[in-house]
Amino acid sequence: MCHRTVVAVQREIELRGLTTVLITVSPDASRQMRPPRALYPAGFKIGNSLGRPGMRELQTRVLRDALQLIKEPPRPGEIVEREYPEYGAGEQ
């Protein structure tokens, strides 16, 4: 649900002429709403959009990759999936 409504907000912001990027961990829900730009960190669970607690380097890398999508060729409505093996390695 949150991963659908957030795209509605994203699209409203984009319509106003601001550039947006979504980080989603529920890509099927987000895809239904066609986000202007979106990153799915593969396998991240809900509640872990950026990674796990204290994994500051991973969190920063995910955020940097999401922002970098803005400079890549446009794929409106699509969700770009990236692998972050250190997320699995951090499992407790």
């Binding site: 994203q10 601001l18 947006t20 809900i46 509640g47 607690p53 409106p76």
Partner: protein
Amino acid sequence: MAQISRKCVPFTPYERELSRATVALVTAAGVHRKDQPPFNIADELGDLTFRIIGGEDDTSDLMVTHHHYDHSEADRDINVVFPLVPLRELAREGFIGGVAREHIGYMGYTMQLKQMYEETAPQIAEEIDKKSRADIIVLTGG
């Protein structure tokens, strides 16, 4: 300005360098300041309001009120859903130009979808457009 693509997805290109961009966060994960009213999780219809979080706010002053996902890890480190500290790090290293002065948290769960889409979403967009002075907005679902 915004363009409508062939697939009817609103799309605004960002022509400048990321290193000049001011970036704001918007999250559906139920994040708010501890001194703000929590989202109303007693109402099964959901809560259509949103909270404004300052760019300088201490992340230890933030919390989550949301009953439709497990936020125990966000309770330990809010940056897993609301990456304000990583955003500051990217500004410090010059990857982005700066952190916006205003960010927004709301609770993305609602049964009142019509109001969410027709009222809350445009209100959040208006707030971030007029007050945050951001060029780029990063959103998280939770």
